[in-house]
């Protein structure tokens, strides 16, 4: 059983936001109008944003530090603990998933997640003309299940799933080709697209995988380690 994990090298990251865009098209995240975006209602499963730095220091360095941030897929996720209906859960391979069909929209998980990676659908998602006919048709759906790029109804929470549908597809393809599933078959869209090749993805339990080796680097750190969430997204320090 793999334990999926991601490493992001901040030294290589150029903050081009390619990952955000790739994620958006892969996962059908709705587009919001500029007015709603100004109100803080935009949905970016993988957000690239400048880190908060205190007044003087920010001006002195004249250089904002950027962070690209998917869901951390915490080993000990606060979001799952608080959900009253089990709409968000960790699967066998450590991916923290989100079931739109069950979520009641209480927004407890959005409050509990220290990383702010969860987004609420404040209204019915919509796309501009032309875009709405080019949505990703992939779905992870079943009785009482609706996950992945499936179109979200209004009033539910959504978040990065490590492109869970790609995982399912990779397994199905391997099966169809009559071979074993290899870990390299599965890559999330942001990792695939990253211009600077700053993102790595793989099995954390495999000591020879890139993510395992990189996580041993002296530059490795986890975001908000003090929150006790044990993130499975590991960053490598700049410089």
């Amino acid at each position: 059983m793999a334990k999926w994990s991601m490493v992001i090298d901040l030294d290589k990251c150029v903050a081009c936001q390619g990952c955000s865009i790739a994620c958006r098209f892969e996962n059908n995240t709705p587009v919001v109008s500029p007015e709603e975006a100004a109100l803080g209602r935009s949905i970016l499963w993988n957000e690239v944003f400048p880190l908060r730095s205190e007044g003087e220091a920010a001006i002195a360095s004249a250089q904002a530090k950027f962070l690209t941030r998917p869901c951390m897929h915490c080993e000990d996720p606060p979001c799952i603990k608080v959900c009253p209906v089990g709409a968000t859960y960790k699967d066998d391979e450590g991916i923290v998933r989100q079931n739109y069909a069950r979520c009641i929209g209480c927004r407890f998980c959005t409050v509990a997640c220290p990383y702010g990676v969860r987004y609420f659908n404040w209204y019915e998602p919509s796309w501009e003309e032309g875009m709405d006919t080019h949505l990703n048709p992939d779905r992870v759906a079943g009785r009482g299940d609706l996950e992945g790029p499936a179109i979200r109804p209004k009033g539910v929470v959504e978040k990065c799933t490590f492109c869970i549908h790609r995982h399912h597809k990779a397994i199905a393809r391997a099966e169809a080709e009559g071979r074993e599933f290899r870990n390299s078959d599965y890559t999330p869209a942001c990792v695939q697209t990253c211009t600077a090749k700053a993102r790595f993805f793989g099995d954390f339990d495999d000591p020879n995988s890139t993510v395992s080796r990189l996580s041993q680097s002296r530059r490795a750190f986890r975001l908000l380690d003090e929150a006790g969430t044990s993130p499975k997204v590991i960053y490598l320090h700049e410089g």
Binding site: E36, L39, G40, R41, F49, R52, L67, R69, P78, K81, V82, C83, P84, V85, G86, R102, C103, I104, G105, C106, R107, F108, T110, V111, A112, P114, Y115, G116, Y119, F120, N121, W122, Y123, E124, P153, K154, G155, V156, V157, L223, L224, A227, G228
Partner: protein, 529 residues
Amino acid sequence: MLKADQKDKDKLIKPLFETGRTYWVTIAILLAIIGWALYMYYRQLTLGMKVTGMQRPVYWGVYMVNFIFFIGISHAGTLISAILRVTGAEWRRPITRVAEAITAFALIVGSLQIIIDMGRPDRLLSVILNGRLQSPILWDVLSVTAYFLGSITYLYLPVIPDAALLRDNLPPYSPAWRKRLYSIMALGWRGNRTQWIRLEKAIAVMAVLIIPIAVSVHTIISWILATTVQPGWHSTIFGPYFVVGAIFSGIGALFIAMTIVRWKLKLEEYITEKQYNNLGLIFITMSAVWMYFTYAEHMIITAGQEVYEFPVLTSKLWGDYAVSFWVMVALMVVSFWIMVIPRLISKTAKRFLVFQPRFTTGAVLLAVVTGYYLVTDSTIPGLSGINPETLFFLVRGSLLVELLFVGLGVAKWFKTRLVAATTVAGVMVVIGMWLERWNIIIPTMTHPYLVSWAEYHPTITEVALTAGSVALFIFMFLVFFKLFPIISIWEVAEGRVIDAERAKVTIPMPEASGIKERLRGKGIRKARG
């Protein structure tokens, strides 16, 4: 056939069957507000939560504040009247019904806030079908449900003898459905010995049971916040802090309800100063404990060196939320003052200059002038030579002294007006406690860990739904007390019997003769003075 006292008949039963114009006008206004709120809620349902001021990261706003506030108010009744019953406080009799009604209705309105706040209210049942017991929301559902069922029972049990009384004492012009209603509600109550014993037993059991449930309710609500790691929420003090705040605001609401009822139905003979005084003492205690908790909570954050918690604190002390924070503090301090200081000064305080109206008026004028200089920051004629730092303390210090004098004058005025003082304090605390919930939720939500700091401004939808909730609360209150007597008739009657019995007991006089003898033995003829 049960008989009611003539006084109770006139004062408590008659108003149930005679409805004035004001009543209908009030009902109409309330219904209009509720209608407006319903329309706004319908809009929220169809358009989505975007009609609120919430966004990322402020995922919880006014609805959550209202939720905690109303559930807090609900601690007025059952908890207080249960404690008073268990401890055998006789003076509770005339106010238990009002208190218990506040509980039941505040709970209904409070739970409604959660449904209003949900993105998918249509999936409400999922909480039961797919409920995860590990989630604090489930704990909350369980304890609030238990509290609601308990307090409804607790409200209903003492209504039984009164319903029977009403059934037997209906005025001739009352409509037939009311007789049927009371007959059903009375459950065949005849007032015989077995029935009384059973009823008293049931009430006694409920009174004991309801206390831990009530404590659990607000503790768990605080845990909804405290079980997250958000800056400023992860605190063990939250449980007791919320419970104390809840009882505190509950008594405040009870004071307001008591005064309105007493004034509208002219119940001065029933709800006397004694109720105000005794409940006031509990209120003062709660106020002191609340202030202690508030201080402790903020004090520890000040010393905690927590980089993420500190911005939350500063936003309250002098940032975006300074106004709501300091208004809350001021309301609490002033309400404490007008409850405590009038009790401390003597009746003859008028002899002293500081308590005389002209002195107070002078202090008010001076305070206004000083306040003006402080706010506008203009130079004070004649004082331009003073070093600005001295002036800074001089102006603030003199304002403080002036306000102190105003306070003393006001306290003197309230000295002889217990009901007014208590009611004003009640209003202040109810507003103050709403602000307290706001000050706990919003500053933390706007200052999260990673997401950039945000602002939150409630929209008209949220205002409408808040107004509608308050209106619904008052509406239920009015309707209920059109059907049932506002004062538990049988409990008051029982109190009268107990009082009469007590009056028969004679307390032996101290032996005066012995003293005389002893004095004579010492050669003194007559005791002086």
